[in-house]
Symmetry: C2
Subunit: 387 residues, 2 copies
């Protein structure tokens, strides 16, 4: 087991009817910026519940934050925070809204000239973020319980992640009934995203991390077990399935399964480029890349791939390579079973995009994956594998 | 799944050599009360590492806190905190030292006349505790990452738990190498304690809590797998076994496996009485009571007992009652395999003690267990079962 440091101060408030808890979580009289997206919260009742919960606060609304939140949108909210002396931000939405809000909260207290440095400059000293909380409407990114965010800049064709040690949400309210009205595509994106988050922290080096291994497997198994119910065409919502999904998504990237293990993240980095260059949803990119990475990196990840085959897919074939082949097939099959395409060609993505991604990784001298094992050349092989 | 609220702000610093991190965790010049027990830390090198880490701080030592920390000992430390205007407390020890320190930290800021009310009066409003951190020397209670404490009062033959919402350690340093020099009896107490903590949050009602169920099973399986290595007579310390044990103990009672599930705690409450009346170690009491509780409450806990048999002990007997019998036998056998007695008679404890415990529970009108299913009469049956 590796040495590690863990901290996660976010207060999780989980269950039906819990949005009303805003009444005691946000002090009356607070000046609140309420951030949200395209307005789906006005259709599913969440908007009204939030407004009711914030009664007695001075609320400024900032809607219209897009999926893969854009720097040039967010900077407008930063200006409002500064001009209006906003005291608290409440993000109401999914990962994009919450990620965007983390940037707003951080940039509002930033003293430098160029807030984009917060995102791109690892060595930038980040300020304590403005206090913020979240009401989650889409289980997927776990942004509601971590201090990371992914921000896009369309004018530069870029998409990067940043982490602020002082940027955890103060609280996050998770009401699983929000899942009832989600489009199936968003649910399947959330399933793939959570599955991939878990693999990034699991499918690496064997370090005798018994608890973390089984905790990660628990999340994978829960997703596999709940997916059919969640993807059912009819809308007879099963509360416990939604609750299991929502909790799994949060636990997938809040540090709880990351203690003492190596981490990969190559699939996410390759996926970010596919989103930046071709506009695919984040979850869509992961469903393509992961099976490819498993195959190309099978030697380096042999021990964990075999454990994954045995424990998650219950494959007991004595031939280890065959067991791994079957696990990769099962993984791709799982993604396809929830409606995800798993090949670049299905989106009309060709060799030119592969070349551009390899060019970018080479230019940036990126060695991705645990211990830098995913070189630009390996990234090419992964993408070629899933053409 | 039940609604729940979760928060745990303790910073965990885990791994070999991490005690030196005190240098940056406690600000130079701070007035620190250093609490510890009987002096074993002076033999295993921890004392020296802590003193080195606290260089530049003004350190007042308070040693001699006993196992099952006593109110009348702790109150002396409270007086020192007040008289010397202590700013930070560092607990160096196991659960007893940390529990005692939580009481000290809470009582130091308490304005009432009778600090014992902190422990016995549920309705007492507790103050924010004085800031404190811990250096853990004995994996068992998870007190290093929760806000609960158990305090004894020998002059009244009493032992009770209390929780302070504002009483989490600021940080806890867990260096698994401290396990190397522990007496086997303390290791086996820690294993039983962690196993029991996990069962208290697992072996209750089936609520379709897929993640929590598997996370709890992960802890149980890790303990079962690591116990033989940890209990080996020779001292060829296996670092990863110690690390897995230490992490499991912390995760067993820090709220991570408690989300959305029912909890029991009857075994602990019965065990506390056995400690108060007969002086048994906490872990010793649990090894006796749990197999008895499993059998007596088998109807109410049927679903979970069966899942426990199948998933933890790999028992696939189709006869459900037989499978549960085997799981209870396996549990008792596991405790015995690490040197624990599992019957009251082995400690010379007779009917008079059983009667006294039932009398106390009846007097207090206690209905223990999830949904109050463990009545005083059931407590009697449990104790009779393990005579």
């Amino acid at each position: 087991m590796n040495n590690f440091e863990f901290v996660n101060p976010t207060r999780l408030i989980f269950g039906k009817g819990q949005i009303s808890r805003l009444n005691d979580l946000v002090k009356k009289g607070t000046k609140v910026l309420m951030t949200y997206g395209g307005g789906s919260i006005k259709k599913n009742g969440v908007y009204d519940q939030v407004k009711e919960g914030l009664k007695g606060c001075e609320v400024i609304e900032f809607g219209g934050i897009e999926a893969n939140p854009d720097y040039n949108t967010l900077i407008k909210a930063v200006d409002i925070c500064k001009k209006e002396s906003v005291e608290f931000i409440l993000a109401v939405g999914g990962g994009s809204i919450i990620d965007g809000t983390k940037f707003i909260a951080c940039a509002a207290n930033y003293k430098g000239d160029d807030p984009w440095q917060i995102v791109v400059n690892d060595k930038e000293t980040l300020p304590a973020a403005l206090d913020f909380g979240t009401v989650l409407t889409l289980p997927a990114t776990a942004s509601e319980m971590n201090n990371g965010a992914v921000i896009s800049r369309r004018d530069l064709n870029q998409k990067f992640a940043f982490h602020n040690p002082n940027g955890f949400p103060k609280f996050s309210i998770l009401d699983p009934t929000v899942v009832y009205s989600l489009p199936k595509k968003q649910i399947s994106n959330g399933i793939v995203d959570t599955y991939a988050h878990t693999l990034e922290q699991y499918l690496t080096t064997c370090l005798d991390t018994k608890v973390m291994d089984r905790w990660a497997e628990a999340l994978l198994l829960t997703l596999i077990e709940e997916a059919p119910e969640l993807m059912k065409a009819e809308s007879h919502p099963n509360y416990d399935s939604c609750a299991n999904f929502m909790l799994t998504a949060t636990m997938g990237l809040n540090g709880f399964i990351a203690m003492g293990v190596e981490q990969d993240w190559a699939t996410h980095m390759i996926g970010h480029e596919l989103t930046a260059l071709c506009g695919l949803d984040h979850g869509e990119t992961l469903a393509i890349v992961y099976p490819g990475l498993m195959d190309v990196m099978r030697k380096e990840k042999h021990g964990k791939l075999l454990q994954y085959a045995r424990r998650v897919w219950n494959i007991d074939d004595k031939d280890e390579e065959k067991a791994i082949d079957m696990a990769i097939e099962k993984t791709e099959g799982f993604f396809r079973s929830i409606g995800k395409k798993t090949r670049l060609s299905e989106y009309g993505i060709g060799q030119d995009v592969i070349e551009e991604i390899v060019r970018r990784f080479t230019e940036r001298s990126w060695r991705l994956g645990e211990n830098g094992i995913v070189t630009p050349e390996k990234a090419r092989m992964i993408l070629e594998r899933v053409k």
